[in-house]
Subunit: 220 residues, 2 copies
DNA sequence: TTGACAAAGTAAACGCAGTTTACAAAATGA
DNA sequence: TCATTTTGTAAACTGCGTTTACTTTGTCAA
């Protein structure tokens, strides 16, 4: 086998070093603060070396966030345990918001910047993408709620309802990340805003539902 | 008066030329596309000249958008004509969304980027700021709704309710601007999403209101 | 052991960004 | 007329992502 093995390990170690340095900068100061030169300086290599391990800066940052995105998916999957569909939706909202507020820079990258071009990329590209999984989980939960007669009669389209729920919670988080600190709005505590949104949006979509009486129609 | 007058006019004209060139670039390609060099080239002056009229790029772009911000304020004020508070809130939501979707780059600058530091700035800084006026208008409308017993008993705080309504609509617009085109979500038409949000959020906040709501409960 | 070859690394540069320095030209007002 | 202010410029500075051209180093077959 020779030393090839060791070299591979060393290469991997350097790659990890790069990611660690970048993660530090990214978490602390955001995307723009991650400069190739700053990373290079932290790891005491020349900037060019980074390009031996990553195609470009975007590649590096996306790789960097992959792990944290899994955390995001897991946090939402946890909420998937709640039994009642409506309560489950609210729980997912809280989990979603918690992730965004605790990882503002990751959140900005995932949901507040233009997403990368998916032109010409196949489905493989978005397999194992926690964003996709999370959306699917939400939509399926909404569908269950509809099937069980928990939604208002006007809302029969699970996609539309899921997109509305998502938008509501996203709005709270995005506004908090962009506008917190503005002196001209007397912002209520963020926890209260998350709670109000989760409640209001689910109540609004389910208001005047026929009844939970009718036993669940199976389907979907 | 001498030629001083003419020179002032000429200076003003050049300033306008700069703004026009910048506006063109900004509306078409967004903040990053507005480079000082590109502006200079369009107006056939050297880049340095721009700095005789504007302190820096941010100053220029903010000045550039001031006019369009007025349009934003006006669009929302229009919705202020609607009589019923709840219908007025929905109308404001539609107006807000329409502005954001028709002026994506302005919207990004106003609501999706970190706002400038207000550290040490006095109240004058945000007088005549349409953002502020619009928020105040929304909050006052919410307060009216509360006073008329149109809101659910749990919602007695006009600030919190206004912030929730704002977040909901913002979520729809922001998600549309950042994620439209993503292939892994079967996006519903944006008009339907705006409508669903306006309805759901207002219904959710007003559901089970004590007073005249009973008769008003239309199916959607 | 040697020597070809690939891998890993570097210094310096390229192009583009915002911005500034140092200077020239022109208009103004005394 | 002439000093002063205004208006403009060319060229540069710094910092960014990225690349070119080169050196060093380790590996492995002959």
């Amino acid at each position: 086998m020779g030393p090839t093995n060791r070299r591979e390990r060393e290469k991997e170690a350097l790659r990890t070093q790069i990611l660690d340095a970048a993660r530090y900068l990214f978490a602390r100061d955001g995307y723009d603060a991650v400069t190739m030169r700053a990373i290079a300086e932290r790891i005491e290599y020349s900037p060019r070396t980074i390009y031996l391990h990553f195609q470009d800066k975007e590649d590096l940052v996306r790789e960097l966030c992959r792990h944290d995105f899994q955390v995001f998916g897991a946090e939402l999957a946890k909420a998937g345990q709640v039994k009642s569909p409506l309560a489950r939706i609210k729980a997912m909202g809280r989990g979603y918001a918690a992730f965004g507020l605790q990882n503002p820079n990751h959140y900005r990258l995932m949901f507040m910047s233009d997403s990368p071009d998916y032109e010409g990329k196949g489905e493989e590209e978005w397999k194992d993408n926690p964003e996709v999984d999370a959306y699917a989980l939400l939509r399926d939960t909404v569908q269950q709620a509809i099937d069980q007669g928990l939604m208002a009669p006007a809302y029969t389209d699970a996609e539309l309802v899921a997109q509305t729920v998502w938008a509501g919670i996203h709005g709270v988080v995005a506004l908090a990340l962009a506008k917190e600190g503005d002196p001209w709005v007397d912002w209520r505590p963020i926890a209260a805003r998350v709670e109000a949104m989760s409640d209001a949006i689910v109540d609004g979509l389910s208001a005047g539902a026929a009844a939970p009486a009718r036993s669940a129609r199976k389907g979907r």
